[in-house]
């Protein structure tokens, strides 16, 4: 019961976060892109809650809109890699044989690259932009899901209910989607939930390096990159988006932990 409460609580927080991110353009007090040089680099005050950046843009508004950029691109990335990875993993684990060998050798290739370094290379080849950064991370990150799904399929594919379904003449596609997928979905969901924080940090990191979101786009990593040279005189320019990343990642991590505790039968 306690675990269920934790799950609901963090689930609600996530929901709140998503609603704020989705509604950001409509609830911001100022236009996040409107420059107003006379009010540049104001410290946090009653009018600009988190201060202004060097172009006089309201940081609170930019952080809110940045939530949309960062969270939704991370969610998009996560859904693409988990769906694709699970698909490949199930095919590989279910059919085995040469299909498995070929698919797993392909994952080997991508796993040979450290994630961020591959992303740096792809970002360099594709050029900047938040979607390119996401694509760069996706190219490496799907392999993890494929590997995990394949391993899980291995443990269930000789279970009596699968064998029974096969003897009944159930089609392979139906066995995979109706019997295997529901069985491994829990573990995969936990992995994805725990991954969200890392993905947000990696995406923001690429933007921070200037390989992701491009200015003037309001994105947390890019905003921090913008303010880092002024950290001594105007620390709020860096701290506000940084704290936003921290809080979001923390909430997603807590949510991931609570999902795991809830679904893990071991405990």
């Amino acid at each position: 019961m306690k675990r269920y409460k934790a799950l609901t609580f963090y689930g609600m927080l996530i929901l709140l976060l998503l609603v704020v991110a989705a509604a950001a353009p409509y609830i911001v007090p100022y236009d996040p892109y409107a420059q107003n040089l006379p009010t540049a680099l104001e410290a946090p005050n009653g009018i600009h809650w988190l201060g202004t950046d060097r172009y006089g843009r309201d940081i609170f508004s930019r952080v809110l809109v940045g939530a949309q950029t960062t969270i939704f691109s991370a969610l998009l990335l996560l859904s693409v890699i988990s769906v694709f990875g699970i698909f490949i993993g199930i095919i590989s684990g279910y059919y085995g044989g040469w299909i498995d060998t070929v698919l797993m050798r392909i994952t080997d290739v991508f796993l040979a690259f450290p994630e961020m370094i591959f992303a740096v290379a792809v970002a360099a080849a594709l050029g900047g932009g938040i979607l390119n950064a996401a694509a760069a991370l996706a190219l490496v990150a799907w392999t993890k899901y494929a590997r995990l799904a394949r391993g899980l399929v291995f443990t269930v594919r000789h279970m009596p209910y699968i064998v029974a379904a096969r003897m009944n003449g159930t089609k392979n596609s139906a066995i995979m989607s109706r019997h295997i997928l529901p069985n491994i979905a829990g573990t995969m969901f936990v992995t994805a939930a725990l991954d969200m924080g890392t993905i947000i940090m990696e995406l923001a990191g690429l933007s921070f390096l200037g390989l992701g979101a491009m200015p003037p786009m309001a994105e947390w990593g890019a905003m921090m990159n913008n303010g880092r040279s002024m950290i001594q005189t105007a620390p709020w320019v860096v701290v506000s988006p940084g704290a936003a990343i921290f809080l979001t990642v923390a909430i997603f991590n807590l949510f991931g932990d609570s999902v795991r505790d809830y679904l893990d039968p071991k405990q």
């Binding site: 040979a112 740096v120 290379a121 360099a124 050029g127 991590n253």
Partner: protein, 314 residues
């Protein structure tokens, strides 16, 4: 054991091929821009001059010819010259690699020295105030992106307290503290969490109960039995974090102006200096693959269970 080592080394060959092939093709897709970039500063330049430069750099030949000559170069340590500085790429890379390796080793040892005892302590004192405090700290460390940690450390320790320099030459050990500390915070948080759960898991096992029943002191149990499994976890973590370390140094090095390969790569991307980027991607991946291989061999040596499994003819 020998058979296993040989088998693993043979498996490396196709992987190394794909690493070089993929990184080469990725750079190739956009490599023409480099010539445009090169002449951008010098104002309007006719297409004839650009074509001449492309010829000089070998960018006008067919794809596979370029790949072939390039890969032979890689094998002989000749990766061409930088588009921008005209220096030899391989030498530039090796030159800067030592700084990155130094940063990685310092942060890895700091992590191990801090996280291992704290992880064990949290497990031994499970569910006490100390355990909660350590877990909370590790949670915070896990949720902070390293570039934010870096900037916070700069703000507090370099600008406000003025204890440590932000950047400077490498000969002064003070300069390594902040960049290495940044990497340590994220890694240490992860290590502590993992080590704590491994120790807890081990302490539940029957052999520990048996040892306790025989009256063996708790410290002996911890040091002699439990630490063995902690070792395996630490090796796994170190091998895994080698990947994120290699990538993470790119961010940290550019923030602290640490003159290593990570900063070199980021600078190279901004100037589209493809030979340098290629060298970075390939050599970092090769190092990563090698470290993983070493870790696998280390498990073999340390964990008889894995040794037996491999013996099953898998």
């Amino acid at each position: 054991m020998h058979k296993y080592i040989i088998k693993r080394c043979i498996q490396l060959i196709p992987i190394l091929f794909w690493i070089t092939f993929l990184s080469f093709s990725m750079m190739h897709i956009t490599a023409d821009d480099a010539v445009d970039m090169f002449y951008e500063q010098s104002g309007a330049v006719s297409e004839a001059v650009k074509a001449e430069k492309r010829k000089e750099l070998g960018l006008d030949k067919p794809f596979f010819v370029q790949y072939g000559s390039w890969v032979t170069g890689v094998l002989t340590g000749n990766m061409g010259t930088s588009f921008i500085s005209n220096k030899l790429v391989f030498e530039t890379f090796i030159d800067k690699l030592s700084a990155t390796v130094e940063l990685m080793l310092v942060s890895l040892s700091m992590t191990l020295l801090i996280a291992t005892p704290l992880g064990v302590l949290a497990a031994v004192k499970q569910n006490t105030a100390l355990d909660y405090l350590l877990r909370f700290t590790s949670f915070i460390g896990n949720s902070l992106p390293n570039f934010f940690v870096a900037l916070l450390l700069i703000y507090f320790f370099a600008l406000k307290l003025e204890w440590l320099p932000i950047m400077g030459n490498q000969s002064d050990w003070h300069t390594v503290v902040l960049p290495a500390g940044t990497l340590t915070i994220a890694m240490g948080a992860k290590y502590m969490r993992q080590i704590r759960s491994v120790v807890l898991e081990e302490l539940e096992k029957a052999y520990v109960a048996g040892a306790r029943a025989r009256g063996i002191p708790e410290s002996t149990i911890l040091l002699h039995s439990v630490m063995k499994s902690v070792c395996i976890t630490v090796i796994t973590l170190a091998a895994l974090s080698c990947g994120s370390l290699l990538g993470g140094t790119a961010i940290v090095e550019s923030i602290f102006m640490w003159d290593g390969v990570g900063k070199m790569a980021v600078d190279a991307i901004l100037t589209r200096d493809y030979p340098l980027i290629q060298a970075y991607v390939i050599w970092m991946s090769v190092i990563y693959v090698m470290v993983n291989l070493a870790a696998d061999l280390a498990y073999h040596y340390l964990d008889p269970r894995i040794r037996l499994e491999e013996g099953d003819g898998r």
